[in-house]
Symmetry: C2
Subunit: 406 residues, 2 copies
């Protein structure tokens, strides 16, 4: 008998028919003798509709109240699934975030889980209940409803799995696993059978939208085995687990593409100590995350500083940069180019050299110019012009033999 | 400076424009220096939509889970109004039922308020907040979400007003007060300026849908002054208050019509002790409320027993009655006639005789046959054939001079 946490995303609970299919799957696991905890997202599109409603109410909806509004989406699906399970004769019970003991900080819209008291859920499981938990939400220390940000239901599921010491956290979604790259861009993309937390984390950060980043961090921290799989078939998906010895044979596991960055360049900045701080402190104060930074020293004691931010933050970042540019006497602020970030990711990079060279050579062979480069222990990312994005992905996928079965 | 609880119904918060109008009114009271607590219903039609969704999920939706689902309706409007108020620069905060300290019993779908701990709301008021409370909902001792039944937001509002010792509980609705009868049926119906809790209670029970019955019981018990008024204009509505000496001049305050009853007759029942218990015990066990009962003794030791139930309970009541009829050897169970209940209500009946006679004479003058009669200290009700309903209302309204300004 295993304890399984199953998370179903928005497309898997898009309407009553879909929720009935979820019930089929939940019941099957329960009938096998497993204890089942289900974590649900809102119906596909509902969160966007609620945000649109909030925007009608206010151009900048209050974040605390937006959380109260958005939390209704998961409340709806959780109660509906519990109803369906009960009407089929099963013991079932819905839990809102606060009822499932999910305590978060007070950072509305992007709250972090501080602690989970799983006693209520565990007690219901022990009484034979299937527990249906509204994902994406919790409550802060004052009892205010909070939400965990886009994709937060993944994090709810992993955190709950961790607190209940579940045997597995199954993430059911509309794709059947994690792929070597986006199959819509590259037809030879293959499903990855097992992937390490570290690799999955890099893939998630870089735009593979299968799992929310924080859910992978959580899984890594608490060593929760995560199974990413399709809610539309019975096939095995991708297991996200701790690094293991047999993984090392693969140098590069995947290629990712992120089209959601924008570039800002401050031209001819005086090359003096403290200048970088003057540029990036106001951005940090405005809670703008800067991704890549590059500095090109020019002759004459001047330098160009280029950095990237997400498109969401671009307008604010541009305004702030223009103000700073005036203060520090920079020549100009350049923006506007559509850029893309392609990355190769692989644990094997830790012990294999030559990955960067292969990457640069492959891109050069297609005359794709690299604008910025950044690396981590298991990742190399290049900023290129957006128009080359798909070509670059296919080129790299082939260059690292990802199209070939291992 | 007064403490005002303002409750707005579904048509007053039907969309963002309506909620903005509510905000105008709330802000006006706040700017006058009043402390304002707002209690909201769900957007008009939303509760019905959610019920339809639940019925898709299950023919007989689990009541606990239905409450979780329905509670999203008020959660939505409360968060939206709080957003709008904050975007206008006011301090505002939404409270769900449990956050407002509304403790109920566990009777899902029809929960009763056991206690309100108004500390959180009072503290927010003292800090200058406008408090926006999701009506219709509370939480039981285990923290499960409960709802208070149709129109429950009225009860929320009155209960909150009572717990906060508010100066007035204003019920904003789509009519501008309580009328002597339904103006859609009788064009000479007039708005009543003040009405006693007792009369309002009878009016509410008998189908004047302005206020939920329990909210009036609550107001009466805790002596909360209730002001029923329109959310679409500034006119004074109807004050519902304690009985006062100057009310006694009016014998009859209003005429009500209830089309929601159905009649069941058990024909030729043996006239023996204990027979009534045999008929009505199984109905009570099935939680069916029986309204009027009449017994006509026939010759030969037999009797006909007729009673009325709401149309919702009719099918179940009929089944039970047919089973009982067999057991007690009754000749037949008769049903099917469409009936209506017309009533006249007035505190003055306590001290004036002749009201019943006037009523029966008026109905007789239009050849309307009375099938059943029931009375209370301040009410006389007659069951008639449904086809005469409107005629009866107009006839009685005129017979008691309700069309004339007092």
């Amino acid at each position: 008998m295993a304890l399984r946490v199953q998370k179903y995303g928005g497309t898997s609970v898009a309407d009553i028919e879909c929720i009935n299919n979820v019930a089929d799957r939940v019941v099957k696991a329960h009938d096998q003798g497993d204890k089942v905890v289900v974590v649900l997202s809102a119906m596909a599109g509902v969160t966007d509709k609620l945000i649109a409603l909030a925007k009608q109410a206010s151009d900048t909806p209050d974040k605390r109240e937006l959380d109260v509004l958005l939390a209704t989406g998961e409340q709806t699906t959780a109660s509906l699934l519990a109803m369906i399970l009960k009407s089929r004769g099963y013991k079932a019970k819905s839990f809102l975030g606060f009822q499932a003991g999910i305590k978060t900080d007070t950072f509305s819209g992007k709250a972090r889980i501080l602690d989970i008291n799983g006693d209520n859920v565990m007690q219901a499981l022990d009484n034979g209940h299937i527990c249906v938990i509204a994902g994406f939400q919790g409550a802060d220390e004052n009892g205010a409803i909070t939400t965990l940000g886009r994709g937060g239901s993944d994090t709810s599921a992993v955190a709950i799995a961790s607190s209940l010491k579940a045997d597995v956290c199954e993430i059911f979604t509309d794709v059947d696993g994690v792929y070597t790259t986006d199959p819509r861009i590259c037809s030879t993309a293959r499903k990855i059978k097992t992937i390490s937390y570290e690799e999955m984390l890099e893939m998630a950060i870089l735009g593979a939208k299968v799992l929310q980043i924080r859910s992978v961090e959580f899984a890594k921290k608490f060593n929760v085995p995560v199974h990413v799989r399709s809610s539309f078939n019975e096939e095995e998906g991708t297991m996200v687990i701790n690094e293991s010895s047999d993984m090392e044979s693969v140098v590069v596991s995947g290629v990712t593409l992120d089209m959601n960055e924008a570039r800002i360049t401050l031209k001819c900045v005086p090359d003096q100590p403290g200048i970088s701080a003057k540029i990036f402190t106001p951005l940090a104060e405005a809670e703008i995350m800067v991704d890549m930074i590059i500095q090109n020293t020019r002759s004459g004691g001047e330098t160009d500083i280029t950095f990237t931010v997400t498109k969401d933050d671009f307008e604010r970042a541009k305004e702030i940069s223009e103000k700073v540019a005036e203060e520090i006497d920079a020549e100009d602020v350049l923006t506007g180019e559509e850029i893309a970030k392609v990355s190769v990711i692989g644990l094997g990079m830790k012990s294999h050299s030559g990955v960067a060279a292969t990457m640069f050579k492959a891109l050069a062979s297609e005359n794709i110019n690299i604008r910025l480069i950044s690396t981590s222990e298991i990742r190399i990312s290049c900023i290129i012009l957006a128009k080359y994005a798909e070509l670059a992905v296919r080129t790299l996928h082939c260059a690292f033999n990802l199209d070939k079965e291992k």
